[in-house]
Subunit: 501 residues, 2 copies
């Protein structure tokens, strides 16, 4: 067989794995959207079966043979795309084959029981109920990290699964700088004399109207409905890719902004997924490179564009029309200030764009100490509250609004949190570059034009798939290492006039 034939055969196998993956995503989508309540047990069984088959195919002798053939062959002849695909499937193979099956099963069981314990602990705000499970999950995840292997920190082995090539050491220094800049900025904002912006009118916002507005805005920014759709789920998400991208949202008829910005956020994820190169469908070359880069796209559309003054020149008349006459007496400027309010708060998922990263840095710092064995599980609530006081100047009244608020650890997910703040940093640095490359792009939005920005994202980020690890992608796109100054500049420039700092 020629190297081309070997590669083609490898790609065919990779596409089968990808088809299996797409099937799993669809089942999970159905679980969250349309499945009748009693279908849950049968659905878990289906998901477990597919994921077992997926794992077996990924670590199979067939996959090993493909990778061995391409490792020895003259792969460079086939060019960059082939190199990316082989590199990434090798990485996936290595990760999956290093973790013993028994450990995978032990983790799955502990996750399932851990989540139950966490739900009860959060409801009762009683950390002691969850602590033994967190201990167990932490231990198992450390074993997993050791099985996978790492160079500097055990944390890296877990974090790498979500943010290829990123390390605790690198993040620690970036986050420390970010923290030291955000804390005083938040202080200045919340201590400013600017009166709290006018509240959005307390009205019923019918779901159908929210949906119509959301669709109109997603259409404007370029979401392709022939290749995607929106449904309703308890927790919003985006799944699928390229020609079949599913967004979900939830509608709160008392609060218009949840679904509105939720849809802009998921729509940003969706634009990334729809933006890969279809020639590479079913291979890493047409897949999202990391959670952080994914988040940079959702935040770009939710916050940088979606909470921009120019954007609302275009969008506010639409909002007024859909909910007429509710907003007749609210000026666009009042609306703009309302959707850009900054507050010290306890709950990460409700935080604004200035305080958000502090919530994430707190979790990251605790996670590293936990994984590296310096923070005992029993001391987490105290450590959490101390950092909350340091970063945001407030103290949770109980663990439910403190260290029990997020589901991640209960599911054994460590190393995931930093990707949220990395997304903020990436999005600001990418956007700074987009503005340089596209003079006057901010003026497009008021005219309802988003094609230049989307085109830039397509070319510089989406179409590249997994070609570059996130930190390399940042360098390739912006010519610089990741730097906190872009996010700080963006926030300072935006919030200085709003809060008359």
């Amino acid at each position: 067989m020629s190297i081309q034939e070997k590669y083609d055969s490898f790609v065919e196998y990779t596409r089968e794995l990808s088809a299996l993956d797409a099937a799993e995503s669809l089942l999970a989508w159905d679980q969250q959207t349309y499945m009748p309540p009693m279908g849950a047990e049968s659905k878990s069984r289906q998901l477990a079966t597919l994921s077992g088959i997926h794992h077996d195919m990924l670590v199979s002798d067939t996959m090993k043979r493909h990778l061995d053939e391409l490792a020895n062959g003259d792969l460079d002849k086939l060019g960059e795309d082939a190199r990316v695909n082989v590199r990434e499937m090798k990485r996936a193979y290595d990760h999956a084959s290093r973790v013993p099956t028994k450990l995978v099963r032990d983790i799955a069981r502990a996750q399932s029981l851990g989540m139950e314990a966490w739900a009860e602990a959060r409801e009762k705000s009683d950390y002691k109920i969850f602590a033994p499970w967190l201990e167990k999950l932490l231990k198992l995840k450390c074993e997993q990290a050791d099985a996978i292997g790492y160079e500097e920190s055990r944390y890296d082995a877990l974090h790498d699964e979500f943010e290829m090539g990123s390390t605790a050491k690198r993040i620690t220094s970036v986050f420390a700088k970010l923290r030291d800049e955000l804390v005083p900025l938040v202080d200045r904002i919340v201590n400013s004399d600017v009166a709290k912006a006018q509240k959005i009118p307390a009205r019923d916002y019918p779901r159908a109207k929210q949906e119509a507005l959301g669709r109109e805005l997603l259409t404007a920014i370029g979401f392709d409905w022939k290749a995607g759709r929106i449904d309703v789920s308890a927790h919003p998400f985006c799944t699928g890719n390229l020609h079949d991208v599913r967004l979900t949202t939830r509608y709160n008829e008392k609060d218009l902004t949840q679904a509105l910005f939720g849809l802009m956020h998921e729509g940003g994820h969706g634009l990334y997924e729809q933006g890969f190169d279809p020639a590479h469908q079913g291979t890493p070359r047409a897949q999202a490179v990391s959670l952080g880069i994914h988040e940079s796209q959702s935040l770009m559309w939710e916050n940088i564009v979606g909470r921009d003054r120019g954007f609302w020149k275009f969008a506010y008349p639409k909002l007024q029309k859909h909910f007429a006459p509710t907003f007749d007496s609210v000026s666009p400027e009042e609306w703009y200030k309302e959707i850009n309010k900054v507050e010290r708060s306890f709950i990460r998922v409700e935080a604004d764009e200035v305080t958000y990263c502090l919530h994430v840095i707190l979790r990251f710092e605790l996670e590293v100490e936990m994984i590296e064995g310096r923070l005992p599980v029993k001391d987490i609530p105290e450590a959490w509250n101390a950092k909350m006081k340091d970063f945001l100047g407030i103290t949770p009244k109980n663990d439910a609004e403190g260290c029990l608020q997020d589901i991640h650890w209960s599911h054994g997910i460590f190393g995931y949190f930093p990707t949220y703040a990395l997304g903020y940093l990436y999005s600001a640095q990418f956007y700074n570059q987009a503005k340089k490359d596209l003079p006057g792009v901010e003026d497009d939005y008021a005219k309802g034009e988003f094609g230049r920005l989307l085109g830039w994202l397509r070319k510089n980020i989406h179409q590249r798939g997994m070609t570059y690890a996130p930190h390399d992608l940042v360098k390739v796109v912006t010519g610089e290492e990741l730097d906190t100054k872009y996010l700080i500049d963006y926030l300072t420039k935006k919030y200085t006039p709003i809060y008359e700092l």
Copy 2:
């Protein structure tokens, strides 16, 4: 390993196959309901991947080892249910392993191209476009039949896949009798002096109201919404089983009856699927035994109950309320006659319950001649039209309303059609028995009570899963062989007063 352990291990494997099957069904459901248009190609790939894995697992060495172990072991110790499950998985294994992979692939390709040719042929009403593909598909399916093997007729090998244990010989004699009784009954009805019933008012029937009425009626007959749902698709179907049963329908806002009886029909399929014994989930013991038995359940609820005078005593006020005031001037009796109109017509899927089986018998007779090599493909239009004239006294004006109307042959599906008419026969014979076992059951419906009938179907049919082959099930439930007299009696008794025969 003890025989019990061997059996448990076999059941575990069977359940994995069943989970894979359920995943395939869900993907196919999504394809027909929510998939965005551009998702089609990726969906085919997913379905092909899963069905390939399914086939490999079914004919794997693992499956063979399980079956061998249980063939040699003392299976009888484990009782009837174990015997049924092993017998049925062995049957599935034998069928799948006898057909060479190359033939499976050739058939799949011919199906795909054959369907395209058929669609064009039907649109242009030009049989010549389809004939070469039908020739090819017929040849391949004959090869498949020969690979599977049969005792009397090659037709049996294909038909058995849909109606276990049923044979051309047995059907030929039953259908000949049925045909000879239906033809004069149809004649008497269409030649009767009774004026055509009043037309249902020509109005818009809003989809939401049709849906609400449909849900109300399905709830009444016992469909469990915690374990099922309704969505919209171009072609109505029912998929899934036990705790997750999905029905689909389509709404025609000009014709209320399509979705109404369509939902009663799919609801009948759904009641069967929800009615299996959950203790046996994922094994043949909790699966539908045949298409004919499935159809007996849908026809029971669509026609025997759903077009019953007593049923409409209960349901008509609901219909009047949902569509008020449209039906204020239409009496229940007029409605009853309207939904039980009998007409000679060309299109099977639009036929009423008296003429329907003649459409099926026509197809069956042609199919047997084709498969047994006595009817050349080129002669089908002529043979079709001759039978249409014989059975229904009418001649299609072209092949689009003649031999090109159904999709089945274009998809290489031979041996399926008879299950439609078998469903009519089974349903009438089962119902006759139910009336004997449940005195006065027909009087329940006017009171909106359907629990006695459903309970009887659950116990006698649903809960038995694949325990008995259809012809044995008929004997077990009714104490007799399948007999056309029950359907003829039912139709004669019902239509004699309607048409004053």
